[in-house]
Subunit: 238 residues, 2 copies
């Protein structure tokens, strides 16, 4: 048995996925953590899999261990918009799920650590620290949504694409050498377009433009290198 789980003052990890669930495990005592671990299970999905639909609320929560999960909303005529991206170690699912939900899909291959709805909700009731963590996560998602509203409403296509690259570069712990960053895009061009409110063609053109401007180099389709992060930041319009 791991030694550290007997002391709730030092970082503790979920037994099944060996990750410290952001906003979850950190608020749990060693005892609660053991209880939680008894219920959690590692699950894998492939890119494109639907984890929960707009009309099909999830029957469990989950933390993202690896990969990227996209939250999408659709208009009747098929137009769609990605309204959120979840990276490790974000928590998926919401307390008191309501009608106005989003469709949850794996944007890349993902590993999740599933937590049954009942188990988490029971712990929330008796653990105010955990409730606070979940509140903090909700507020952080709200901030992210509002930041993205500015991008959607007021930035040009070039700024949008640069902002997206910066988002990925800062959320996917890329290979780092000084100001240089190197990473794999977890999203297809079509998904990037749906995230930015653009078309695939425009996304492609703006990536090409960033390349010819020397801001990035496209090593392979999904493999991007940013020679100077500050130069990319300067393209984001804020």
């Amino acid at each position: 048995m791991r030694k550290d789980i007997h002391n709730s003052n030092i970082p503790v990890r979920c037994m099944s996925c060996e990750i410290r669930h952001k906003g979850v495990c950190g608020a749990l005592s060693a005892e609660e953590l053991l209880m939680l671990s008894a219920h959690t299970r590692l699950v894998n999905y492939q890119s494109g899999d639907e984890l929960a639909g707009e009309k099909m609320p999830a029957e469990s929560y989950a933390t993202v261990i690896r990969g990227v999960v996209k939250l999408t909303k659709r208009l009747e005529d098929g137009r769609q918009q990605i309204v959120g991206l979840q990276f490790a170690p974000d928590l998926l699912g919401r307390l008191n799920a309501n009608e106005n939900a989003v469709s949850v899909e794996a944007a890349s291959d993902v590993n999740l650590c599933r937590i049954p709805k009942a188990a988490l909700e029971r712990m929330v009731k008796s653990n105010t620290a955990l409730a606070e963590r979940l509140m903090a996560q909700a507020l952080r998602e709200l901030d992210e949504a509002r930041d993205w509203m500015v991008t959607l409403g007021r930035k040009t296509a070039a700024e949008k694409v640069a902002s997206f690259l910066l988002l990925i570069a800062t959320h996917l712990d890329p290979e780092t050498v000084g100001e240089k960053r190197r990473f794999e895009l977890p999203l297809s061009r079509a998904d990037i377009a749906d995230f930015l409110g653009l078309t695939v063609e425009t996304v492609s053109r703006q990536l090409s433009k960033l390349r010819t401007d020397g801001v990035i180099s496209i090593v392979a389709n999904r493999h991007i290198e940013v020679p100077k992060l500050s130069k990319l930041k300067a393209c984001c319009g804020s």
Copy 2:
């Protein structure tokens, strides 16, 4: 003394503003409500007043009693985007305010019921029902932000303006006769443009177009009449 505050099972109201604070008063016992009332104070602001800046976090919470409050974010070069509108009886302010805030301004003349930060935070600690209400409000704001992301990213100018009118018609309890609605716009054309990610001219043109199409009539600058709500809904693209 009001009779109903002695029974926490029936709707109770804040003593200073006589309104049932959504998500706040409803979760309080009569005793707590009295305590809260001792600290609250009614305050008024004029259209355009800044209630809290991006760098100036508010030292108190407040419920909107009357009027509309706008939450704005700005880019360095002056472009701005309204990322949220708060109507009565929304709660302004957030637990554990963080750096990534928005600027809070009165969009119209407003009345607020102020609640000192310390008082509310103290009550949240000892009242899980209140904490749940605040969580619910955060999740509702998140849903609204995500809905608006679809509007910003994927709707046409005409659909955006129609969606805005519908939002106002459904949040400002307009004069209602069957399918007919009549209301005052709480925002200037410039604010509407900042909310929709458009220019003032485009907003004006689309309003004119809705008028010539018979979807609305513009009784006066800010005074709008919608003869058939379902017709307006059909213009919203979803």
